[in-house]
């Protein structure tokens, strides 16, 4: 062998591949040493068709077929097959064959390389299995799963969503899903999704989604953006969780609470009936008395029309007053949807104190107000907050019924607690509290006829407004109830005396 032959042999034995050559009929005539070392065969064992014994039996047929068609067509080709290593382990190889042609174009030899693709193959396999199992998870978990593109277009939904809606991916894709929302939920949901897509912040919304039978169920919908290294959203992943049953229970609870609040209102109406009667009878009494006077002036001889007219004018004025009083009392106890609006807390306090006024003087008690002159408006439900103030005042009056030896006095004050909250304090000189927390527990009562729900409901009203209600003992007599309500930013209500 000359030097260049040796060099060539060295190269062929060193390159990281199994190299072989074959005659035009396909029988092998050369293997590099890597080939022989891999298979653990001697040249004689491998030559001609001996190499086929290292091919995995399951791959042999395909390999032979493919090899034959290459030979027949004289065209290069490749095939994947498992080859047995010297130690008995099969590894995947990519086997490539190229024909060498002589001057006349006839194939004189085949050259081939086998490249170990076991690791790549295994990675592919793993990826495929994990993809499969991921898909299996996504399709089997008891939730509705979706994906959307970075610009917010729905790209994938799992089978459960298709089963639930009875729609195809085509119906739902892009923005098609919107037409499956409850009409009342469309606007908010679309706006919130647009927000999430714009900001990349997690999407969190509740809406009703139409089922294939046309009914709607409540879902809690969560979406999370997947972000790449540069912080760009690459994909949105999301879940729909069926919360319909939970929602129904919540609503039932809420209805019960509303009814309970209503029952307490009715109980308060009962307690306040004397006060209410007084409020109404006062202007009504004036109306009736004026009417008598008017008739007397008309029937006197001669009729005194000027005096009769004065009386009639007073009737009109006081009649309107009566209507206004009745309206105010009705507004305090009527059952309405909770409605949050901007409220002048001082005005509410004054109105409730006025209503309770006659009741407190009947019980030989006084109510004083100390109102913050420039108090920012609060946000809340008028009826509920009046109810809250009313309940606390009535509670204070009840606590003072047994008091003798010092004045029965309630001071109600309003304050701006800080930049976000208003504070109302109702300080009584009653018998005080044994336990400042226990009084808020349901069915806790020290009163003979009390249901023990008054303060519990008061607290739920305060908390329903994102405020707090708590009680403290006074230094000498009685207790003070404090509650806070969030301020409506940047709105002042007028000064109060």
């Amino acid at each position: 062998m000359n030097t260049s032959d040796e060099q060539l042999r060295a190269i062929i034995d060193t390159i990281p591949a199994l190299v072989w050559s074959a005659r035009p009929d396909g029988s092998a005539e050369f293997f590099n040493s890597r080939w022989l070392e891999y298979a653990g065969l001697s040249y004689d064992e491998a030559r001609d068709w001996g190499w086929t014994k290292v091919v995995h039996p399951d791959d042999l047929d395909k390999l032979v077929d493919d090899y034959r068609s290459m030979l027949t067509l004289d065209s290069p080709g490749e095939v994947e097959a498992r080859l047995r290593r010297f130690d008995g382990e099969f590894r995947w190889f990519l086997i490539r064959a190229n024909p060498l042609r002589d001057e006349s174009g006839v194939v004189s030899k085949w050259y081939g390389t086998n490249i170990d693709i076991e690791d790549r193959k295994r990675a592919q396999e793993t990826a495929r299995t994990s993809e499969l199992s991921f898909r299996r998870i996504v399709e089997t978990i008891p939730a509705l799963v979706w994906c959307a593109s970075p610009d917010g277009e729905l790209t994938y939904v799992n089978q459960r969503i298709l089963d639930y809606t009875g729609a195809s991916l085509g119906d739902l894709a892009k923005a098609g899903w919107v037409s499956f929302l409850h009409p009342d939920d469309v606007q908010e949901t679309v706006a919130m999704w647009a927000d999430a897509v714009r900001s990349g912040h997690p999407h969190d919304v509740q809406y009703r989604l139409r089922k294939r039978d046309g009914t709607y169920r409540w879902f809690h919908v969560l979406g999370q953006a997947m972000v790449d290294l540069r912080g760009q959203v690459t994909q949105w992943y999301g879940l729909l969780i069926d919360i319909d049953d939970r929602k129904n229970i919540q609503e039932a609870l809420h209805r019960t609470e509303t009814r309970l609040t209503r029952a307490t209102q009715v109980a308060t109406v009962g307690e306040l009936s004397a006060s209410i009667a007084h409020e109404i009878n006062q202007p009504l009494g004036a109306v009736v008395t004026n009417a008598y006077a008017c008739l007397r002036w008309l029937s006197s001889e001669p009729a005194n029309l000027a005096k009769a007219r004065e009386a009639a004018e007073r009737i009109v004025r006081d009649g309107k007053d009566t209507v206004e009083v009745v309206g105010r009392i009705r507004a305090l106890f009527k059952r309405t949807q909770v409605q949050h609006e901007t409220l002048d807390l001082n005005a509410l306090v004054v109105e409730v104190v006025r209503l309770v006024g006659a009741e407190s003087s009947r019980r030989r008690a006084t109510i004083e107000t100390e109102l913050e002159q420039y108090l920012q408006a609060v946000r809340g439900d008028r009826v509920q907050i009046q109810q809250l103030i009313l309940n606390l005042l009535m509670n204070g009056l009840d606590a003072m019924d047994a008091v003798t030896g010092h004045p029965r006095k309630i001071v109600i004050r309003t304050q701006q607690k800080d930049s976000t909250m208003a504070l109302v304090e109702i300080e009584d000189s009653g018998i005080g509290l044994a336990d400042c927390e226990k009084v808020f527990e349901p069915f806790f009562t020290t009163k003979e006829h009390g249901m023990g729900m008054g303060l519990t409901i008061c607290r739920s009203i305060a908390e329903g407004h994102n405020g707090k209600l708590w009680a403290t003992a006074n230094r000498v007599f009685g207790a003070t109830f404090h509650f806070t309500l969030p301020l409506q930013a940047n709105e002042l209500t007028g000064p109060h005396q």
Binding site: G285, A286, A293, R296, A311
Partner: protein, 211 residues
């Protein structure tokens, strides 16, 4: 009728609508009227000395109706008609026991109100008459000498002049003179009338068995 005798109705109510309405009505049934917004205003005001009655709201801000009634009890005050926005039975019982003429729930019946006013004023007239009579009697009584005032209880006690003289250690004739003076100064036409006057003045008869 002189202004002095013309009756007047006082109204104490904290509600201006009620004051105006009552004022109009009372005027229409032919009485003078004066209104006050609180008990203290009523107490501080200078009131005409005429037959009167007081229409008093039970619920008042400073001194309430029942308290004012107590305050006025020893002061020859006019009879009281209570009015109230809520028919509160315990309060009405207390008011009536303390001598209120009437207790009317608002809104009132005009007949009841008018009757109550007329009745109260009639009561006041009678009371004023009695007070006046007592005043006259007291004036006359003060005309008696000390000795005559000493003799008077024995006279109205039904003792004979001789018996009275024995009690006081003087003569029958002296007693007869005193007795004549007493009858004349007291303007009594009979012994029976003198007995009634002494009773009104609170003078206890003497000299009867056991006294």
């Amino acid at each position: 009728m002189s202004n002095q005798d013309e009756p007047i109705v006082f109204v104490v109510d904290d509600d201006y609508r009620m004051r105006e309405a009552l004022s109009g009505f009372i005027e229409a049934i032919g009485f003078r009227v004066a209104t006050y917004g609180s008990s203290s205003q009523f107490l501080e005001a200078e009131r005409p000395d005429s037959p009167a009655c007081l229409i008093l709201d039970l619920e008042l801000p400073d001194i309430n109706g029942l308290e004012l009634q107590q305050e006025l009890a020893d002061r020859d005050a006019p009879p009281i008609i209570f009015v109230t926005g809520h028919g509160d039975i315990p309060s009405s019982v207390r008011a009536m026991k303390a001598g209120a003429v009437e207790f009317l729930p608002k809104p009132f019946d005009e007949r009841e109100l008018q009757n109550a006013i007329e009745k109260a004023i009639a009561i006041d007239r009678l009371a004023r008459q009695k007070r006046e009579e007592l005043g006259h009697l007291k004036t006359r009584y003060r005309l008696l000498t000390a000795r005559e005032q000493e003799v008077l209880p024995f006279v109205v006690g039904g003792l004979l002049n001789k018996e009275t003289a024995a009690h006081l250690g003087t003569s029958e004739i002296t007693i007869r003179v005193h007795r004549g003076q007493i009858m004349r100064k007291m303007d009594a036409r009979s012994l029976a009338e003198l007995v009634r006057m002494s009773d009104t003045l609170g003078i206890k008869p003497r000299g009867q068995a056991g006294s």
